[in-house]
Symmetry: C2
Subunit: 678 residues, 2 copies
Amino acid sequence: MAKRILIGEPLTSEKLDEQLLPKKMALPIFASDALSSVAYAPQELLMILLIGGTALLTLSPWVAAAVVILLVVVVLSYRQLIKAYPSGGGDYEVASKNLGEVPGVVVAAALLVDYVLTVAVSVASGVDNIISALPELNPFRVEIAVGFVILIVIVNLRGVREASSVFAIPTYLFIGSVGIMIVVGLGRAVLGDVPEASSAAYGVQAESLTQAALILLVLRAFSSGCSALTGVEAVSNGVPAFRKPKIRNAQTTLTLMGGIAIALFVGLTLLALLSGVHYAENPCNLIGFDCTLPQPSLMAQVAAATFGMGSIPFFIIQAATACVLLLAANTAFNGFPLLGAVLARDGYAPKALNTRGDRLVYSNGMVILGIVAIGVLIVYQANLTTLIQLYIIGVFVSFSLGQIGMVRHWRRTLAGLRALSPEAARQQSARYERRSAITGLWINSLGASLTVLVLLIVTITKFTHGAWLVFIAIPILATLMLGVNRYYRDVEHEIRMDDDVHFGSSGDVAIILVNRLQKPVMKAIDYALAAKHDKTLAVHVAITEEDAAGLQKEWAAHDMPIPLVIIESPYRTYTSPVTTFIKSYREKHGSAVVTVYLPQFIVGHWWESILHNRRSRRLAQQLMLVHGVSITLVPWLLDSSELIYGRRSRPLPGQQRGGQPVAEVPAHRGKAPNSPAS
Amino acid sequence: MAKRILIGEPLTSEKLDEQLLPKKMALPIFASDALSSVAYAPQELLMILLIGGTALLTLSPWVAAAVVILLVVVVLSYRQLIKAYPSGGGDYEVASKNLGEVPGVVVAAALLVDYVLTVAVSVASGVDNIISALPELNPFRVEIAVGFVILIVIVNLRGVREASSVFAIPTYLFIGSVGIMIVVGLGRAVLGDVPEASSAAYGVQAESLTQAALILLVLRAFSSGCSALTGVEAVSNGVPAFRKPKIRNAQTTLTLMGGIAIALFVGLTLLALLSGVHYAENPCNLIGFDCTLPQPSLMAQVAAATFGMGSIPFFIIQAATACVLLLAANTAFNGFPLLGAVLARDGYAPKALNTRGDRLVYSNGMVILGIVAIGVLIVYQANLTTLIQLYIIGVFVSFSLGQIGMVRHWRRTLAGLRALSPEAARQQSARYERRSAITGLWINSLGASLTVLVLLIVTITKFTHGAWLVFIAIPILATLMLGVNRYYRDVEHEIRMDDDVHFGSSGDVAIILVNRLQKPVMKAIDYALAAKHDKTLAVHVAITEEDAAGLQKEWAAHDMPIPLVIIESPYRTYTSPVTTFIKSYREKHGSAVVTVYLPQFIVGHWWESILHNRRSRRLAQQLMLVHGVSITLVPWLLDSSELIYGRRSRPLPGQQRGGQPVAEVPAHRGKAPNSPAS
């Protein structure tokens, strides 16, 4: 019941198509990650520069420009990728198809790690922005963050489209309100009324830097600014979720997203510089600031400077920022399970990740992501600046390998076109294809060079600041995936057909375990009789002699059509007497196929399963280890389950009960056609 | 593997008898709870009196004497109970047999709550004593406590007797070392060299009390002192675990235990008074004590006063005290699962609690107790004084109801004897029985009056100090138990045989779900053929058309003896096409018993089960909801499981592979006798 209320009624698979996303819904779903990055990327960029003192802030336009150029190149590169690989495998598919298994798996591991960090960073930043507006919530930072992750998991378990309609409005509100803030703020500046941030007056305790340290610091600022690029790949991983024409729609969404992200990133950075925001890595380095208080986020400071602290637009911007950051976390809950399903399909992850749940979403992946993200948030105490250190390495690993893969892809395409006959090559379509491949090659070569360069910079500047953990996690994950793949391959090999396989088992006996003479057992006997086994035996394990004697009496009284065998159990156990009996039976009667019938209760509520079937499940597990045994589970629907599954195997209390066979088929009383032997 | 190393190899049920306890082993197992209480009972008694100032300590001998009298009466009462009800149900059995269902369930609930608190209090006190010897461990109080509970669970999952041999030595060491300390300490006092405790010099900030408050305080001290009585009932619950003659051995153990407990309790209280131990509820009330430090336990102070702080005997006593307290926690791990099993047998708890695990212990009960106790320790931060407030209420609820039940029992016995004919009544045995019943009646009446009185005192003095929680927990638990009982009874009624039940299902068809043509599927087909169903069909769900076409080709190539049916799956799902197929098949061919064969992987390592069987389990669950369906699981042992279970269903790689039927019985190639239809 609780599950139903939280997650919604199960959807039939026919609904899958309706769940596909139109563009205006896909934008909030897939673009929120990239867009929301502007809530922290300018802040982290300026923060790192400020370590070197306020003078360094003059470098920030150049650093921001480098980030924008990179963003343009990456968006263009991914438009190519979407066209070439629209199946939603994204960088993983590109890398594994063009570069081989190991690079593919490394990309997958990097992406999985980054999905986790997307959730952690976005939620931490979202909570930061909430606390900037409501500082009294500061003591509950971690609790709020964890609560949000749980909320997102529940919303996502309800299914893709419903989740998007819940979240579409805030994204547009974010774009709109931050856009207006930038226009208003810059407008005021142009008119000479420059907004002033609350931290503009604070002095800054700066470290004195050598030239080399200065260069490193600028590169670090660039690395942190690159967090604006995270989420660009989300669209390429989500192409199958788009409506037709999928490729065009995905490309358009990607370009739109890139444009908006650049506008917001540039606008916010400018406005923060103009209004004199001083955001410090260690708030105690701000002279004049009481560093026991939470430091307001850059977004909050800019909003307060533009519209006034505590004004209605200020609260709208903070709310929209927090919401879009949570939506970004939500993006990961779309991407992670999809990637997990692709990995499962390819045999690199447990197959359960490729199973859609009741609501047609990959529930297992969502739950795993939620648990890991909560763990990370608790360990890092939802601290944005610490988390950012681990972030974007995974993204750039997958960017780089994806782009290199794309370069390889276009070269192969061109090689294929060169191999065509001169006649075929002159055709319109071939010429078009050639031109588009050359364009792709140029764009992706540029993308590959830049992203590899940035990966190097990011690695150098972040490794000692905590990112080493990511460099441990990615290889471990990749190794696990390769191990899973080897395992599945071994099993595949083990169970592969060969010429020696043939039929011929014989000697068929059915055993019905009888504890007491009750309806579920009668149904099992009925089914066993219907299957007409060569022999059909009832077996009772005598835990107490009285029970055994009582059963024998009842057996005779009901004129049961199959013989009853009583077996001893000196130690009041159940399983071992049965296995012993079956083994000795098979020895005596020659190798036989033994089918053990076990009644199984089907219950309506989760808590009922605590109260039932434990012994029977244990017994089934043990018996399946015995040679020649197979287990037949005969379901018995308890009333509770019938109320829920809307199905009745026997009449309601009010109805007439007579003449009703246990297995609900036309009744003919008396012995079954096969006379059971023993 | 990890499970095996921690818990040991599984025991065959034949070992159960060898696991029974001789007296010298039963004493440490069942008496440690009662004996270890002396580690905290005197401390808590004196601590409460000290709230009223040092002058009140002069009352302590009288309070202690009251506790001793109560202890004597309770021990005598339980000797009667063991004689009358030696089956191990203890107070629960007595109350339910003599007073009815609800009192019985209330006793059970009270005992379960108290087992949890026994673990929590004993471990907290044990950690206290460790910290008294090694104060630098103070910051890790909770972690150490939790670690000990986990350790105890693991040791207990290994089985009763091994657990006792691990722990027997420390109990005797505790009795011996504390005994020697009392003799040495009192000896020194007699010789005029009175030991002086480190806290003797501290002044005490006392509350000024009204006369009523004074009386209440004395009663509260008595209540806390009564914690010395906890664990007395352990022996009566554990009688079946004793060697024969069970009753005599249990009674002797109980008496021995009572004697030792009284000696230690009296000795320690005396020594603490003589050496001037000042142990305060709030250590900041001790004038001269730095209350940021942990307060050394009474045991530690007395040991330090007698033998010198940091001397070897001091460390021995602290170590023995900590060990015996952990053993007391261990007692609960014997009692709780046994009571759980009894409750399960009677239908008041999930039947799984009555299932012995691999090592012939009730593993489920142990794990539950461990988890709940850890939760309590974390919530109460392993604080002894807070935990003691919740303690002993459960014990006295069960004492009282048990004793009242015993009174009823003896009256019934006497009534039965009075109803005898005068001749029979004059016989030796009847006269002996009558005398023993009268003795019992007297003793248990005294026991009942005293324990009810103490229960009242304990309730009044502890309710507002946190014990209200227990008064909520016991009714909730009792209600749950009654609910479980009603549920089992309803199910019982639902599945009871009635005259309308008869056989007659017909129309037997076997369906083998085929994904790809692999050995496990071939084995399933082989078994289905051996069972000679009326019809045998292979069914393939076409997730992709290529797979389906490929399978059809293979099917023809292998000259398969049964027809293959391909069913469509427009939404790439698995379950719903199968259920639809079965439903429409049954409609077309008349009501039929449908047996669905599912190959099931049997794996060797726990992690392999993450990688297998998920879909097949899901499918089985769904199919069991379809009318007329039963599920036959055909096991396929993977190599990994064969290595572990030492059983091979196919030849090793090195062996000859030819002529080996899948189901390992004499082969005859070709079609099975029943020609399958479609």
